[in-house]
């Protein structure tokens, strides 16, 4: 069976379309998170989303909706708390991560153990995505990318230096709240793809790789999105042929691209000819 032949399957088409959409938003949001040194914020929010999913499953509500609500409220709450009582960012990540997971564990124990649904959210189930979910993911992704496109210069300035951005008259607080809501929506939207446990890899890996290449913020963002999409598409295809879990294949493809980039960079550095400066040549000619 060839790569083109697998595109004839409906589940593969849905997986690739939603995968590409999610790769784009994770990478776009992730670039700001990585540069703000909040790489683990995505991980923390995915654990909060796990708590939100458990609430939905416990109350017999659609779990994705409860995950959206719970994650957005928690993200806004912790941002407000960080602002007002000056909690260090890494501590706020720890609070979010552990409290989200705790809510999930308590509700799981109350409902008598893991259900199949919760298990699929933990490890991702991109091949099982419905047409309805695919449409919702694509629409949400377009909306998130549009808002980022409108705000990206401001977000870039705030990421560069928050104090200077504030002095320029940018409403830093409002921009940060909007960004955090977008990040929360991105995480919950992406959970279907790689699951709660691996989402931060999709947020961090393409951007770390892109930053190594990029000359200019816009170029870095484009490279990062390209790497994220390449990881997702290759991961899904590899998972099909190798019969392995797609979430793991996607993340490992991202890791492989990152490692290849580092190795290539180091090789290029080591074989670059040493520049001999003019004064040195001048001195040599005098000897």
């Amino acid at each position: 069976m060839t790569i083109l032949e697998i595109l004839e399957f409906g589940f593969m088409q849905r997986a690739l379309i939603s995968g590409i959409a999610v790769a784009a938003i994770c990478s776009a949001i992730g670039l700001f998170l990585v540069l703000r040194k909040h790489s683990l914020f995505g991980d923390a929010m995915s654990h909060v989303a796990f708590g939100g999913l458990s609430i939905g499953l416990f109350l017999n509500l659609y779990p994705i909706w409860t995950a959206y609500a719970f994650t957005i409220i928690a993200a806004l709450g912790i941002t407000k708390m960080t602002d007002s009582i000056k909690i260090p960012p890494d501590s706020s990540v720890a609070i979010l991560l552990s409290s989200g997971l705790a809510v999930g564990i308590v509700l799981i124990s109350l409902s008598g153990g893991f259900s199949l649904d919760l298990f699929s959210f933990l490890f991702g189930s991109i091949l099982l995505i419905s047409t309805q979910d695919t449409i919702a993911i694509v629409f949400l992704s377009i909306a998130i990318l549009a808002i980022i496109a409108i705000m990206y210069r401001r977000l870039m300035y705030i990421t560069f230096d928050e104090k200077q951005a504030s002095v320029s008259g940018i409403n830093v607080k409002l921009a940060n709240y909007i960004f955090i809501v977008l990040a929360a929506i991105t995480v919950v939207t992406s959970i279907r793809l790689v699951g709660v446990l691996l989402i931060s890899a999709l947020i961090v890996l393409p951007n770390i790789t892109g930053i190594l290449f990029g000359r200019g913020f816009k170029k870095t963002a484009i490279i990062s999105i390209g790497i994220a999409i390449a990881s997702v598409v290759s991961g899904i295809v590899i998972s099909y042929f190798a019969n392995i879990a797609p979430a793991g294949a996607i993340v490992l493809t991202g890791v492989a691209i990152f490692l290849c980039t580092i190795i290539t960079r180091n090789i290029r550095k080591s074989i670059r000819p040493i520049k001999i400066t003019e004064p040195y040549l001048h001195n040599r000619s005098q000897e």
């Binding site: 401001r154 200077q164 940018i170």
Partner: protein
């Protein structure tokens, strides 16, 4: 649109006091005026309150006592509009060195925020003009971390002046920069003041540079010790003696404050 007449002083500070952490008096009843075209050198030892003063002028700190006016208007009531006329270069820019933006992108940040909408061609022209003034046209595609300390400071100055501000505030901009680069930097400051007609507030520990550049000097050490013509300050030996004595007093005062704070925070053993 604010009615900012050229007759209004650029900066007007009246009986300004600020308590850090609501307990430590950092600025004590500071008053002064700065006129259009002035290059005001603010000198004072570390911990004298220079950065706090700038934070009040820029409306970053709001819980002070007294009034701070820019171009005749109170900063806290008109912050957004007033800041569109101000450029600021901070003391220690906490900039992530791996930040991937190139110099052109960083300079264009100065056009965001309070100055409103502008066309792409206007932005391009302004950025190019700012790069030419600071002499970085050939570096426009470089990343920030690929530049030397002096070049990075010039990028921040270009960013601060890309929107044609009337007032430029530079908070110890030459910290950690070698002497040769400092000299080139000071020449740029002089040029901005003389040729671009930008009023400048420059805080510095480099008394030699301030004496050569500034036409006005404010010597603060929590209180205002001197405000007036630079030649009066630097021509008076007693004034310089008082400056160094007060610097030592501040050092001791900060040491006592830190010791007291630490003993309050740490449990007694």
């Amino acid at each position: 649109m604010l009615n900012m007449t050229s007759a209004s002083p650029i900066v007007e500070i009246d009986h300004l006091s600020y308590w850090y952490d609501s307990s430590f008096l950092t600025l004590d009843n500071i008053s002064f005026r700065m006129e259009q075209g002035d290059l005001l050198g603010i000198i004072g030892p570390n911990g004298a309150g220079k950065t706090t003063l700038f934070s009040c002028i820029l409306g970053i700190l709001t819980d002070y006592r007294g009034t701070v006016k820019l171009f005749g208007k109170e900063i806290l009531k008109n912050r957004k509009a007033l800041l569109s006329e101000v450029g600021y270069v901070p003391q220690h820019a906490s900039i992530e060195q791996s930040f991937p933006a190139n110099i052109e992108e960083i300079i264009s940040f100065g056009l965001l925020g309070s100055i409103g909408k502008y066309s792409r061609s206007y932005a391009k022209d302004q950025v190019l003009k700012a790069m030419q003034i600071v002499g970085l046209t050939d570096k426009k595609n470089k990343r920030f971390n690929e530049l030397s300390g002096g070049q990075q400071q010039r990028v921040l100055i270009a960013k601060a002046m890309v929107h044609n501000p009337r007032l430029l505030i530079l908070d110890e901009p030459t910290n950690g920069i070698d002497q040769e680069t400092q000299d080139r930097f000071y020449e740029l400051i002089r040029k901005l003041n003389a040729e671009e007609k930008i009023s400048i507030i420059l805080s510095s520990h480099d008394l030699d540079a301030v004496s050569k550049l500034a036409n006005k000097v404010a010597c603060i050490n929590r209180k205002m010790h001197f405000h007036g013509d630079a030649k009066d300050f630097f021509g008076d030996e007693n004034m310089l003696k008082t400056y160094y004595e007060s610097a030592m007093q501040t050092h001791l005062r900060l040491h006592q404050f830190n010791t007291k704070s630490n003993s309050q925070q740490l449990p007694s053993t």
